[in-house]
Symmetry: C2
Amino acid sequence: MVLPEPGLPARVRIHEVGARDGLQNEKATVPTEVKAEFVHRLADAGLTTIEATSFVHPKWVPQLADAEALMPLLGDLDGVRLPVLVPNERGLDRALALGVREIAVFGSATESFAKANLNRTVDESLAMFEPVVAKARDAGASVRGYLSMCFGDPWEGAVPVDQVAGVAKRLADLGCDELSLGDTIGVATPGHVTALLTTLGEAGLPAARLAVHFHDTYGQALANTLAALRFGVTTVDASAGGLGGCPYAKSATGNLATEDLVWMLTGLGIDTGVDLARLTATSVWMAGHLGRPSPSRTVRALSHEE
Amino acid sequence: MVLPEPGLPARVRIHEVGARDGLQNEKATVPTEVKAEFVHRLADAGLTTIEATSFVHPKWVPQLADAEALMPLLGDLDGVRLPVLVPNERGLDRALALGVREIAVFGSATESFAKANLNRTVDESLAMFEPVVAKARDAGASVRGYLSMCFGDPWEGAVPVDQVAGVAKRLADLGCDELSLGDTIGVATPGHVTALLTTLGEAGLPAARLAVHFHDTYGQALANTLAALRFGVTTVDASAGGLGGCPYAKSATGNLATEDLVWMLTGLGIDTGVDLARLTATSVWMAGHLGRPSPSRTVRALSHEE
């Protein structure tokens, strides 16, 4: 039974982050061959944008130290975009050398997190991204800009929407094709989402250029997604099986689970192209490799794990 | 930072079901004194409607076999409503003898669940409720009618909104002051909620007379709640700490957790009167008695259990 609510989009593109954002925040390190199979299974399940890995220095993210080995194993998946995260020019050069055609940079809306995560001020981090974005675009690669801590920050509390819009505008002006608004600690609620999207629209950043990246730390991710969809956002980040804890809130629950998102969107009559049974089977399989059950409610319900 | 969305109510009344619906579906049986302390702690946390127990035959729900012993321990909590579930006239008489002033009956929108849960057809169960509701009202008690399987049914699949509206109308016409629409297996999505509420309104049942009772089995409960709030519903059922598994879906996750609900409502600037820190402490305390961690994401995040 398909019962859409008025004003919602007919189709949503899911930006799958499990292989990068998910695995980067799991304690267990997964063998390269398993990661490659994971990406292939995600593509088989119908996902068309699969963030594959990160070219950050292995010292900072040992879980993804095998980026160079992984990319050739992925091959050329027909119709599937395989963006990768790059922290700086050196990471970009490594990615471009492997034929990557889509990259992402990872910025912060707050000074505290910029300092904690990038060891730079917000100004310094934007200065670092500038040549990365320019070089990527010169090489014909499209660029996504992640903006973290868009709602709350563990050190600063609630983050003013004008502050977020200011940093978002500068990141967009560097040349990012898309901005992904991250609720890194999962504290946002739907009214806050609408307020931020309104402010961003007024700042010249329409919903069509934005993605939302919600964490389910406080169980709010789907309600927030619904608010964003109503506002016209059609790109939603999610992580298969809810992979990835939240390092900045002591909770096993981090990213919105792709399965929970697909359940809602399917019920709303919104096309995602995803085969939920295949995706759930993939998440159960990956949970076996990680040695912990999936935190996704839909995965648990459909797989009868408990 | 309070950022309400337009069209939402200023205040929501939470109908707390943890002590009844929650404990009735937990494996562990809690001592009567612990139940009494639980209800007192819920009241201390600011909840004003706390469903206390059920006067069903102990053979069917052994976890709540101590209803007669429990009620006198609760005393007269100032400003707090303490409804109880009654399955039939015998249960009603037991409750009224203890001074109960608010009762609930538990019906089904589908024949399959009426048969499985009540061993009656829908017609037969409504006939059973008729004298119960009449006698309760004669005694000055208010009556809530639960209607389960309002969205999906494990045997019948999706439940047509017209079928739900038909049973709901008959239950209301018996004299129920309020109807609580249950998504017993947690499969609903927001568009389905809006569609059902629309159909109920057309059938003469306005939002003011309705409550929603969502299960979080597939992670949809808060998104569904948001859809109901937009429609004008101002009474929302929830269970402290998410107590109560879901016996009809093999998942540890049943009722919407009150804490997750309060987090969303507070962020939306909607008054609930609930002190979230006190409520979370109560759920952590109860989880200790039950020997399993709370499935509430907000409880986990705030209590740093993991």
